[in-house]
Symmetry: C2
Subunit: 239 residues, 2 copies
């Protein structure tokens, strides 16, 4: 009896610690801890409830979309004068690649992640996935607007320097050349100044004797970047 | 004075008709007509307000994300036992390709679209974009949960046959072969039965002497589909 009581006490203390730590990350006390437990359970540590194998993959699917929506709304309001191309690029810079891993690291959620087998060091895809699953958990636990507030105040405004992010250039030309070398495909740039306009350059990307991207700009570099961006879009959708 | 009064009367009647037609599509009266006017304004018919060029491109950016989030939540609840792979595929089947154009057609929003220049016949990208922009307008006008309800009851439950959609197979093998022919690239399939397991087939996609996709399945066809799917993923991310 006493042992059972002690075991329960330890269990409750563990729950309480988990709740307190979550409170620090989220800025509020969760209503339903169950969602958060799932969010931090990697596939390798799946558990069974009501004959269902449970892990964070479904929550990651949900959280990924919710995060995108929240960030889109945030950017839409933050940049009332910017075009949709800029908004799309800013969103990509936040949710793609290294930034999301960095956010997962900064929110310090790694200590909660439950996984089995080889634990890789560093912040990997596992942390990124858990971060997205956490957004899904907040959404199910607290609804859309609390999730919006959480992402806005605790993630975007706290960890992202938007001026830095605006300046961060994605180098399309080098991406394209890298791809062409890797795939041994002949890709070339043809650039010229436009005789009809002052300070207007244009650039074409040629591939298999076909122009697959045209860009204009106030410098050769800018024109090439725009042409390379269009060419990458073409190659991505060419099948 | 009378002419001004008549002009105003016509304007009000037009507004009233627009409001009534929107009520039919949406199932509720909009609060702020301005959002909906923007949603139906194609870039070619942009107008200027407070020195800003206004059209539906920014709303399309927003609506696209909101639609994704709402559909993800809907699918998450509708299929509590399905894995995230199935959910992702179902979402793609709804928001990618022809389905979205079909939804734009079924909601009969084409009559509202304002565009200048060549008006192409049929339901094109312009209608798809306006449909996404409409979701953005509903979100700004009514908030997330009303948008959820609108998409669920007036779009998904009204126009989508989910059993049909589940059965709809995306043919990865033919997609891959089509791409290879178009790009004159040698892609081949190597399939074999697995000697260690009963009824287990495996298939490899070979490209430039390199295996770029491996798939398994209980039939040769299933194994090839899985291998082609992986190969497409590789090719899409190979630069």
């Amino acid at each position: 009896m006493l042992r059972k009581f002690l075991a329960l006490k330890i269990l409750f203390r563990k729950e309480k610690d988990f709740l307190k730590s979550l409170r620090e990350i989220l800025g509020f006390y969760p209503r339903n801890l169950y969602f958060y437990k799932i969010a931090f359970t990697h596939r390798s540590a799946s558990f069974i409830i009501n004959n269902r194998r449970v892990n964070n993959e479904r929550l990651e699917f949900l959280g990924d979309s919710i995060l995108d929506a929240v960030i889109s709304d945030f950017l839409y309001l933050k940049y009332p004068d910017s075009k949709e191309g800029f908004l799309t690029e800013m969103r990509s810079k936040i949710v793609n690649g290294e930034k999301l891993k960095e956010l997962a690291r900064l929110t310090k959620l790694n200590k909660f992640i439950v996984q089995k087998g080889n634990t890789q060091k560093g912040f990997t895809k596992i942390h990124e996935d858990a971060f997205e699953a956490l957004i899904g958990a907040v959404y199910l636990d607290q609804g859309y607007y609390k999730t919006y507030k959480f992402v806005k105040t605790k993630i975007l405004e706290e960890f992202i320097d938007f001026e830095d992010l605006e300046d961060l250039n994605i180098n399309y030309k080098s991406q394209l050349i890298e791809w062409a070398q890797k795939n041994k495909k002949p890709v070339s740039f043809k650039s010229k100044t436009d005789p009809d306009a002052t300070k207007c350059f244009s650039s074409e990307v040629v591939f298999d004797n076909q122009t697959i991207g045209i860009g204009r700009g106030s410098s050769k570099k800018e024109a090439e970047q725009n042409a390379a961006k269009e060419a990458i879009g073409y190659l991505l959708h060419s099948f």
